[in-house]
Symmetry: D2
Subunit: 129 residues, 4 copies
């Protein structure tokens, strides 16, 4: 399981006084970075092999400025070409949001999905939560 | 059914050369504005009665700079305190993304959900798609 | 002189109830797109020849949700390798912000500035305001 | 002098492969938070006394994903109603950006500027760099 800490920024608030819900996908994307470094350590933009097919977020509590948010990341499911990452966000000891992202191995040159390579599958499966 | 047009912005691209998936929730939120003006014409920030409980997005095609994106908005479901809005995004005659948002009537003062008022329910139901 | 219209988005507000000042550079960048299409019609990401060296914004009035913002763009100065673009933003018949951006012709391969090509200089000078 | 660390996010890149220049004002705003906690420890949104009048950023080097950015913040000038904050951003031991922000004491109720209170002036002057 991966964990990272995000400091909410003033410009991430909205007129309702809390953190805008539109921000969570960028926080979750950022929380997936260490996972990507583990499964694709030699990635560059030119050979990036993954595309996002779906994400969803449940908003459980309002999130506010003034306290850091901890985001945990684990693998929820591993398929043939795709895998699902599950995130939870905590602020002040409360779970404030949770969600997942479905990522698909994808060849940008042929614009087709590809099977998850075996070595990457092994790392993903070792992080199933 | 509501429809609006969004011009993708350069800073909404990411290093993969396409529009960042993190942008879609802000586009869909923006697309809901005319709906909110219909159901809560006298809203102010101080009496804003709705909170977002969930959203999800399916990414069907990459979205690029250089062509406008049309977003359609309709009501998918009306419950007791919550309703679900469904969005589709089109670029260059292709459906590029779709998703929904679950919105809940909420009293920020008591921090409790409240039933959808009858007059608003009528408007929502007339937009069921 | 170029002109475009931006509809402020809910997630561009901040907790103070107005549009976040951090948003203006993205609006101004977006307003420069038609200028770039005129001066570099055949640009692709791979041969993009310009880099931003500086921007500044004066905030003259608060900007709010609920009324479109018109942004005008003209050329303020043309140098050897760089040119300065000047933007003004208007909402509800008031000038609400103004600012400029200094852009430099730049060869990403050699990482060096380059002189403005003569044909582009002619277009820039014809838009001096 | 204040210092904070920002981890660049994937969605903050743009199609040119580097961090979008539009992101810097949000990083600098975030870097000012500890200063604001020192000068206005009891602030709430309802009594927020400061408005931004101007910012500018010099972009000295491209900023990339994959290395943290350190931002230093100090006071550059203290006037009657306004003060100027100066920021520098460093990545991988290089100064990558610098800029300032002019902030004005402002009464949102009367919509007028106000003099900097003496106790706050003392804190600002002790951070002049």
């Amino acid at each position: 399981m991966y964990s990272c800490t995000i400091r909410p920024r003033f410009n991430e608030t909205d007129a309702l006084g809390h953190i805008s819900n539109t921000v969570l996908p960028s926080w979750f994307e950022s929380a997936r970075a260490p996972l990507f470094e583990d499964i694709i350590p030699s990635w560059t933009i030119a050979n990036w092999p993954i595309i996002l097919a779906h994400f969803e977020v449940d908003f459980l509590q309002q999130i506010f400025l003034g306290a850091d948010v901890t985001i945990t990341t684990q693998i929820q499911k591993v398929g043939n070409a795709s895998f699902t990452v599950y995130h939870e966000a905590f602020q002040s000891n409360k779970k404030v949001a949770a969600g997942n992202a479905v990522l698909v191995f994808f060849d940008f040159k042929t614009q087709k999905t590809t099977a998850i390579p075996d070595d990457i599958r092994a790392i993903l499966e070792s992080n199933l939560g």
